[in-house]
Amino acid sequence: MQLARRKKPSALISMTSLIDVMLILLVFFMVTSTYLDLDMMPMVQRSDETVAPASSTAAAGAPLLLQLSADGSVRLRGQVIAADSLAAQLTGMATAKPNLRVLVLPSGAADAQALVVLIDAATQAGIADLRVIRPEGG
């Protein structure tokens, strides 16, 4: 009687070391990763370096000067504008003057949050040309 030859079992690669490496990598990425959802607003852009054409500046007329006080309140021609009506008022002005240029004169004691709120309101109103003035030595 001829017996069938037993098939030699194929060599099996050990997966244990692979799993170890993968687990270490997983823990590394879990620990080192940050999941902050952050946005940005431009402060200096290369396009700012180029001078605006004279025609567009003339069409925009006189710029609108907004003062940002230390307490975060916004003043226009000496009058305090309520925070909730700021965007609406700016929208009205931007509608009347489409290329309106807004200059923001902030107090050095105002904080970054107040400036961001003002920029948000201007952006909401559709004002594309907004510049922040830095007082000398401020």
Binding site: L12, M15, Y35, D111
Partner: protein
């Protein structure tokens, strides 16, 4: 004659599914995670409702509430920071700088810093903000 039962050469089933899950988690964390140098002090960026997407790359300048500054996680004083940025700008002309400033930072610190970074030749400076959760 009693033969010994042959050992199974295949991996046990639960281990295979574990490897699959671990592998998916690994890929997920590699894709979603973002490694960034954190400032050696607390920084809570201002909240904005109309921020734009934060571009990747560039350098991060962190400024704490008390005016302490750090470049990519390394604390520096202002003159060192500007010198370092100017040196880096020479090698990378299109360098972008992200300013990660605390929301309570006074503008008397923030605005001169922006002006000095611009004066160092860097033409792309952005302020990091936190999107409004509402």
């Amino acid at each position: 004659m009693k033969l010994k039962p042959r050992r199974s050469l295949t991996m046990p089933d639960p281990l295979v599914s574990l490897i699959d899950v671990v592998f998916f988690l690994l890929v997920f964390f590699m894709l979603v995670g973002r490694m960034d140098a954190t400032a050696p002090f607390d920084v809570a960026p201002p909240i904005s409702i109309l921020g734009e997407d934060l571009p990747t790359g560039g350098l991060t300048v962190s400024v704490g509430e008390d005016g302490r500054m750090a470049l990519d996680g390394v604390e520096l004083d202002k003159s060192e920071l500007i010198t370092k940025l100017a040196q880096l700008h020479e090698n990378m002309p299109n360098l972008m700088v992200r300013i990660n400033a605390h929301s309570s930072l006074r503008l008397s610190v923030l605005l001169p810093l922006v002006a000095e970074i611009e004066a160092a030749g860097i033409g792309d400076v952005v302020l990091v903000v936190t999107p409004n959760p509402i």
